[in-house]
């Protein structure tokens, strides 16, 4: 269990973090989302110990994180860093060994990872000769090579093609299933929604939401009622209360919490009701609402 507890950080007059707290449980995939400049990278750098917080603490299983703990973390910084002149496999192996793998273990782990990330053919190339997306895959291999106990990835999906996104998602799900807490930031909310068990939303250095995706949805006040009626007159909704959006036969009622039964009656009278149900808000909608 990783606990981030009341982090504060300022750069001169600018407050970057203003009391950030959340937890990532073992076997949990945690999506960290927020607008540009909200404080995601700052939080993750403090978590990894490459930046010092002004106050607050990061703990693992109740103990303050030490260097030896972080050595067993897999980290992908926001600004990608690799030795441009070093060969792909050589580089991944090097980082594996720096993290305590024996040369043999490092070579095996490197071979497996490059295979999974479809980089085997580039193993002998200098990193600088690879396309940006492929360099990104090498960066991932570097973060994963030592079979980390915790994963902290800052925008790991940016710049990847759909195939690579799937490959990475698969690796992350596998790690999560093995009991590893996985924390990653992303601006691709559909991806976060698809993969994550929990989501933390940060806005201007404060956590505005942090919960399981289900709980966030349940908490979402603005509920949408979706009704599809075939063969109805276009004006069948006249007189019904609520904020109405029409799109062909499909009608969306916002703020319809009290009047749902009335709407159902009107719909049945108007034509053939093909669909009647509450829409689950998407993460994007939750996000918009939360940071508004």
């Amino acid at each position: 269990m990783i606990d981030i507890d009341d982090l504060h950080k300022r750069y001169g007059d600018k407050i970057a973090l203003d009391g950030v707290s959340f937890s990532v449980k073992p076997g949990e995939m945690f999506g960290f989302v927020g607008a540009n400049g909200a404080g995601k990278t700052t939080t993750m750098r403090i978590l990894m110990g490459v930046l010092a917080a002004d106050s607050g603490q990061v703990r693992r299983d109740g103990r303050a994180l030490a260097f030896e703990d972080r050595r067993r973390f897999g980290y992908m910084p926001e600004e990608r860093g690799l030795y441009q002149k070093m060969k792909v496999a050589e580089q991944v192996r090097y980082f594996g060994q720096l993290n305590g793998l024996s040369p043999k273990e490092a070579a095996k782990a490197t071979g497996d990872l490059l295979e999974r990330l479809a980089l085997t053919g580039r193993a002998g190339d200098e990193v600088g000769a690879l396309s940006l997306g492929n360099q990104q895959r090498v960066q991932l291999a570097v973060a994963l090579v030592h079979d980390p106990e915790v994963l902290v990835l800052d925008e790991p999906f940016s710049g990847l093609d759909p195939i690579a996104v799937d490959a990475l998602a698969e690796v992350l799900v596998e790690r999560r299933t093995a009991g590893v807490p996985v924390l990653f930031s992303s601006h691709q909310l559909d991806l976060v929604e698809r993969l994550c068990d929990s989501v933390g939303i940060i806005s201007a250095g404060r956590m505005v939401a942090s919960d399981t995706v289900e709980a966030l949805r349940a908490r979402e006040g603005r509920r949408l009622l979706k009704v599809v009626v075939r063969g109805a007159a276009p004006d069948w909704t006249t007189g019904l209360s609520g904020n109405i959006t029409k799109n062909g036969d499909e009608v969306l009622f916002a703020d319809a919490n009290g009047s749902d039964q009335e709407i159902l009656r009107a719909a049945t009278a108007a034509g053939t009701v093909e669909h009647f149900g509450w829409e689950r808000p998407t993460l994007t909608e939750i996000f918009r609402e939360a940071v508004a």
Partner: protein, 382 residues
């Protein structure tokens, strides 16, 4: 420890493969090898060919006087043939009728002296024999033990060679202190600028990263130095020049290695600390200018010490860190440096290096993760 060695090994394998390093290695070895044999090439041959016309006595006397040099006598039928041979450069000089020496311009000074003493010996012997003395007794009387040279002052026999070695050392040490320090600076900024350092420092400690880099590049530079020394001494041996080398060469070589290691540790740490303040390669040369100036200053004072190894200024400079790293080996090559001075200089430099390591590691550790604008030294030293 393992982390330190892994970093060092990476530096050795990646930097050692670069064109810059390989070219520097080959060039420096070739240059020093050439410089080691150059004085010999320019000092002229120690073997001469002399034409002789009708001077049999001189011919046999020549063999007696020429001990260090090799003189071959070549008989000619008449003066005209001898003249032609001199002009064509077939012989260095020719002696005619035991009276005249023919040369194209001036006779080589060493050869002239040889010919003169051979001529003296031959004529004396001949005239004594003509005066009726027993030739056997004459030649016995003529056998004189040459004067033995004993210096009561400083031993100046090897002065030129010592000065030559000192100049070579100045050049080699300058190159081998500056180049790897630049590599250290560039490597630090490469890691800082690309943020690799963020991943590295979650895996290993700053001292392992810094120490490994300095160690690895130091091993490369040390290898370069050894190659240079081997090339220089090898060239000297191959050309027969080694007989002219002064005694105590082992001490000079070991001393050079020792001073190089101290100096390298000092300058490389300084390079790492200064370069950790910036994030872009373009800023490296300006941020490490204090270091470059210091190495340049050390170079100039040691150049002076090579010219005047015995001067009081050279003595004082050879004690002051970091000048001592180059001035002391240069003075040692000049000979006659008391042991206590070497010991004192070494102790002072060791203290300075330890201080630089402590300070440099501190600066590096605090500055290397602060990417972006140039970090002020005053902010990280406190």
């Amino acid at each position: 420890m393992n982390g330190l060695w892994l970093v060092a090994r990476r530096e050795i394998t990646t930097r050692g493969r670069t064109k810059g390093f390989v070219v520097g290695l080959v060039l420096s070895a070739v240059l020093v090898g050439a410089l080691a044999v150059l004085p010999r090439l320019f000092s002229g041959p120690d073997s001469f060919t002399v034409g002789v016309v009708d001077s049999p006595a001189l011919q046999s006397a020549l063999a007696g006087v020429a001990k260090d040099a090799e003189v071959t006598a070549e008989p000619f039928a008449d003066e005209a043939a001898a003249r032609k041979a001199v002009l064509d450069g077939d012989v260095d000089a020719a002696v005619v009728d035991d009276r005249r020496t023919l040369a194209d311009g001036e006779v080589d000074r060493e050869l002239g002296a040889l010919l003169e003493s051979a001529h003296q010996a031959a004529q004396t012997q001949k005239q004594l024999a003509e005066a009726g003395l027993d030739p056997a007794k004459v030649s016995a009387a003529m056998r004189v033990t040459p004067l033995e040279q004993v210096s009561v002052g400083a031993d100046t026999r090897y002065e030129d060679v010592r000065t030559g070695i000192a100049f070579l050392l100045v050049m080699v040490l300058f190159f081998l202190l500056l180049q790897p320090s630049m590599y250290v600076a560039m490597g630090v900024v490469e890691e800082k600028g690309s943020r690799i350092v963020e991943i590295l420092l979650t895996s290993i400690r700053p001292w392992q990263l810094l120490g490994g880099k300095i160690l690895g590049l130091g091993i490369l530079a040390l290898a370069n130095l050894v190659v240079i020394i081997v090339a220089g001494l090898g060239a000297a041996v191959a050309t027969g020049f080694s007989a002219d080398l002064p005694p105590g060469m082992t001490g000079i070589v070991l001393g050079t290695l020792f001073w190089f290691l101290l100096g390298y540790a000092f300058f490389a740490t300084m390079a790492a600390a200064l370069s950790s303040l910036v994030s872009r390669q373009e800023e490296v040369s300006s941020v490490i200018s204090p270091l470059t100036l210091l190495i340049m200053a050390t170079y100039f004072v040691s150049y002076f010490a090579a010219v005047e190894p015995g001067s009081g200024v050279a003595r004082i400079l050879s004690l002051i860190p970091p000048f001592s790293t180059m001035v002391m080996p240069v003075r040692t090559a000049g000979g006659g440096v008391p042991f206590w001075e070497i010991g004192l200089a070494a102790a002072l430099m060791a203290v300075a290096t330890a201080a630089m390591l402590a300070l440099g590691a501190r600066v590096y550790e605090r500055a290397v993760l602060r990417t972006g604008a140039r970090v002020k030294l005053s902010e990280v030293v406190r």
